[in-house]
């Protein structure tokens, strides 16, 4: 077995050193009934690298890779070009195979990268501080609501109808068990939603996604003011981090907490995970923020260094009084985000955002020109919603058979809402060529 360094002689001499006859003696505390003595029925025996590779490659081949066809899927996960440098660097064994940086003297690589990550996230969101990442955007959203409840000591969160239903569901799930209330808005594909009217003196926060799940972009400054007036926090959710290159930052619009999905930067789609949750807030709220945080300090020689800090919020110190049970984050995905952002820089990041917007404009125009297709989004970043003359799930299926991944049918996200069945959510990124858009339009015309 190539991964196990011991020879049988090693094992024998070690057992002798321990003073036992066989390995079974070391398992003597295990009740007999729970021991497996023979081989395990139904599982294969060990295999060489070549055999495993053949086996898994065959499974991979049964999937349609998004990059192999024109693909317009978004709704919370976005396909962007990831520079070769990113994946090469995150595979440095010193990054890849290190643990959470508990020993800062020998973890400065991870720690400094996290400090850079936190700074980048704070800059992008227009906030004061950010944590070292969460599992994903949806869990970050639920944690933001819990934080707002702690900060305001109130127990009712208003969720915008334009919030991604998966984010709503994860938050709803936690609210059910932790006992806070949710005021959930209905999805409005035409945009516009009077959130101010739903604020009252019990509201801990308003959670609003921008661009929303249908792609609409809105100015949140008025809502932020209304929240302040009522003593509630404004939580802004960003599922497409590249949008922050072109849209006014949530911080500048008055957000108190910004959470989001960072997958779009530096990370591949991975069928939904691992992704990387972003979490940023104001200085004054930092001690209520969940998750790992890296901070700057000095060593005994006065040299600058970085450590995990504010751990008195965390489970390993506070146990049942912790702000969150979170332990692991998405360190390596955060590193990929950081390296991609470092490569992009101000100029590259803005340019990338512009390319995305331009691609979506091109797609919107091409789809609007098709008979029976109505584009519902007029203010958007890289994602639009269109109404089709028949159920979008069927159309998507027909288009998949023609080698085009057309987008996400709204029925996939709201299976219970018949009124949304004809809607298709279409994302475009810098990876979509003019030919891709033409192929989408042509295939759509063919099946409608």
């Amino acid at each position: 077995m190539r991964y196990l360094p011991h020879t049988d002689d090693d094992r024998r001499s070690m057992l002798a050193a321990i003073g036992v006859k066989s390995i079974d003696d070391l398992y003597r505390d295990v009740p007999d009934a729970a021991r497996i003595d023979g081989p395990i029925y139904d599982l294969p025996l060990h295999a060489g690298e070549m055999e495993v590779e053949r086996d898994l490659a065959a499974l991979a081949a049964k999937n349609v890779a998004a990059g192999s066809v024109p693909s317009f899927l978004g709704a919370g996960a976005y396909r962007h070009h990831v520079p070769a440098t990113v994946d090469h660097l995150i595979q440095r064994g010193e990054f890849l195979t290190a643990y959470t940086p508990y020993q800062p003297e020998v973890s400065q690589g991870t720690l400094q990268a996290l400090f850079e990550f936190q700074t980048q996230v704070a800059l992008l969101t227009g906030m004061d501080v950010a944590n070292a990442s969460m599992y994903d955007g949806a869990t970050a959203c639920a944690e933001a609501v819990m934080m707002a409840n702690r900060v305001t000591k109130r127990g009712k969160a208003v969720l915008a109808g334009g919030l991604h239903p998966h984010y709503r569901d994860v938050t709803r799930n936690l609210s059910h068990y932790t006992g806070f209330q949710l005021d959930e808005g209905a999805p409005n594909p035409d945009g516009g939603e009077d959130l101010e009217a739903r604020l009252d003196d019990h509201t801990s926060c308003v959670v609003v996604q921008n661009p929303d799940v249908f792609g609409h972009v809105r100015d949140l400054s008025g809502l932020a003011q209304a929240c302040r007036d009522k003593g509630a926090l404004l939580v802004v959710v960003v599922t497409e981090a590249v949008s922050l290159g072109l849209i006014e930052s949530p911080g500048a619009m008055g957000a108190d907490i910004v959470v989001g999905e960072g997958q779009a930067i530096g990370n591949t789609l991975n069928f939904g995970g691992p992704h990387v949750g972003l979490f940023a807030t104001r200085d004054k709220l930092v001690r209520q923020m969940p998750g790992r945080v890296c901070g700057q300090t000095t060593d005994a020689d006065g040299r600058r260094g970085f450590v995990l800090t504010l751990s008195t919020r965390e489970q390993h110190i506070r146990r049942e009084k912790a702000t969150s049970n979170i332990c692991t984050n998405s360190g390596l995905c955060a590193l990929a985000f950081t390296i991609h952002m470092a490569l992009l820089g101000e100029q590259g990041f803005r340019g990338l955002a512009e390319l995305n917007h331009a691609a979506a404009c091109r797609t919107a125009d091409a789809l609007a020109a098709i008979d029976g297709v109505e584009v519902l989004t007029d203010a958007f970043f890289n994602e639009i919603t269109v109404r089709l003359p028949r159920p979008a799930a069927e159309v998507v299926s027909d288009l998949a058979a023609r080698g085009v991944l057309a987008g996400v049918p709204a029925s996939r996200l709201w299976p219970e809402r018949d009124d949304l069945a004809d809607l298709l959510i279409v994302a475009s990124t810098e990876t979509n060529t003019g030919d891709d858009v033409a192929a989408l339009a042509a295939a759509l015309e063919e099946v409608l």
Binding site: M1, A65, A77, G93, T97, A98, N173, T298
Partner: protein, 517 residues
């Protein structure tokens, strides 16, 4: 912290700030040259934007660097890390085993890495099949009937298991069952998870032998008890031999048994937790099944469930309808999981980790998984025995242990040297230290988990080193320890100031100056 000696300081100084292979790296924000970039993108057409007027005003403040600068920066940063790839990393409770590169290669196949979570099911049949195969392995190795795949890490898995328990109790209409028993030796995530879900945490004391005090446990049972969260093998590195009795008692009292599976690497292929009467257990794919820790994630924490809890499992879930694989994305979809407690994560789970874990399983096979567990247990016992030889270091409990060996600082009594000092001295010796000060049930805990990946030669060198340090401490050379580490990129860091006056991001110098004024 002690005064640094003059010699240390002089050695630290060079003209460049670099120290040989240890290259001083500024923050990227301090390397900024506006106008530089590390990507070449086509020019975007200058059409009228359709952003509804919500356009970003003013610069973001991101630094500009060219590609070679970025490559060198992060390469040099990486060299400031210890990692499994570079040295033995016996961090107890963390299972720092070898991370095979085949797994990385497989996870990057476009058919896995480049598929969108909301693609039509007919275009991702291979991915769903992979999740189903991994689920089969997990169920078979644990002897459990069901598994929830979506939790994103161990603590997230705990949340999943405890939500299922809440849902099962709610379904019985017993809203008075809110007390959860948690042994003192538990991971901090256990009480934090229970508390997050509205349970009242009730701590169960440990016995003299490092295991649950079964009488104390039984005395705490009652009709308000929702369940117990127990790690097995436990955090003292011991197998709870009364586990079957604990399971029976908790069930008899109407509660459920949550098992923290962080230490599954001791027993995979040798013991089926399903035979021990558990109701839920998370499995850290990033521990037992070798997916890389990545400096703190991403992890993956699927949860195996008993028949009693399986109906409440989260969505999404993969099913096979006889013809093809389907995703159940909402409770009740396709006639499945109508009682599901709901969704825990954006999409279907950590697919990238699933691929790596399955590659690990297929490589090892059932025989290799068992051998790996045995070698892990063998290594821990070998280290335990050799360190304790001639009464040098003090194991906290009688052996044998499972895959990790627990020591405490009794052997350091009166030396002026602490567990922390020993750990810092180990850094200079080129070893990553053991877990320190956990579990909390012994003083100055040192929890050593070598894993099966270490050869006998490496173990012997580690043992020789740690014994040497123990002897040096006992010989009264406290100053040596207080000044450690000296041979790694940084000396001890001031964590107190870091927490008291948090600096959590870089700011331009003007901003820092203004804030100070």
């Amino acid at each position: 912290m002690t005064e640094r000696t003059r010699t240390d300081t002089v050695e630290a100084e060079t003209l460049s700030g670099h120290r040989g292979l240890d290259v001083d790296e500024a923050l990227i924000f301090e390397m900024d040259s506006p106008g530089k970039t590390g990507v070449d993108l086509p020019e975007a057409p200058r059409d009228r934007p359709r952003l509804g007027g919500v356009t970003r005003r003013g610069p973001i403040g991101l630094p500009g660097l060219a590609e070679p600068e970025v490559v060198r920066h992060y390469t040099n940063l990486s060299r400031k890390n210890m990692a499994i790839d570079t040295t033995m990393y016996p961090l107890g409770s963390c299972t720092m085993k070898h991370n095979p590169r085949l797994n990385e290669k497989m996870a990057r196949l476009p058919g896995f890495a480049d598929i969108h979570p909301l693609q039509p099911e007919e275009t991702v049949q291979g991915a769903l099949a992979l999740i189903d195969r991994l689920a089969h392995w997990l169920k078979t190795l644990t002897g459990m009937p069901a598994v929830a795949m979506s939790p994103g890490a161990g603590a997230h898995g705990e949340l999943c298991g405890m939500m299922a328990i809440r849902a099962a109790i709610d379904a019985r209409g017993e809203d008075g069952r809110r007390r959860v028993l948690v042994p003192e030796s538990a991971h901090g995530t256990n009480p934090a998870t229970a508390a997050a879900l509205g349970f009242k945490v009730d701590s169960v004391p440990g016995g003299e032998d490092g295991k649950v005090d079964i009488e104390a446990f039984k005395a705490k049972l009652g009709d308000d008890v929702a369940g117990i969260m127990l790690t097995n093998p436990n955090t003292c590195g011991l197998f709870e031999n009364d586990i079957r009795a604990i399971a029976d008692a908790i069930h008899e009292a109407g509660g459920y048994f949550y098992c923290d599976g962080a230490n599954f690497n001791a027993i995979a292929g040798r013991v089926r937790p399903g035979d021990l009467g558990i109701d839920a257990m998370h499995i850290n794919l990033h521990k037992t099944f070798s997916t890389p820790h990545g400096g703190g994630g991403p992890g993956s924490g699927p949860v195996v469930l008993s028949d009693a809890l399986a109906p409440y499992a989260p969505v999404p879930a993969v099913i096979h309808d006889g013809e093809r694989f389907r995703l159940v994305e909402t409770p009740g979809q396709h006639g499945h999981l109508g009682q599901s407690f709901g969704r825990m994560k954006g999409f279907q789970g950590q697919m990238g980790m699933f691929v790596r874990a399955l590659a690990y399983m297929l490589s090892h096979g059932a025989d290799g998984v068992r051998q790996a567990s045995e070698d892990a247990v063998l290594n821990a016992n070998y280290v335990r025995e050799e360190l304790a030889r001639d009464g040098l270091m003090s194991p906290s409990y009688p052996g044998p242990c499972m895959h990790e060996a627990l020591f405490d600082e009794r052997f350091l009594k009166g030396t002026g040297v602490s567990t922390l000092d020993i750990a810092k001295a180990l850094l200079d010796e080129g070893f990553h230290p053991m877990t320190m000060y956990f579990p909390l049930v012994v003083h100055g805990a040192m929890l050593i988990e070598p894993t099966e990946s270490e050869s006998k030669d490496t173990l012997d060198r580690f043992i020789l080193t740690l014994r040497g340090l123990a002897e040096r401490a006992r010989a009264g050379d406290a100053e040596f320890f207080h000044g450690a580490p000296r041979r790694v990129p940084l000396r001890r860091l001031d964590e107190t100031t870091a927490a008291r006056k948090p600096v959590l991001r870089w700011k331009p110098e003007e901003a820092v100056r203004e804030a100070a004024e």
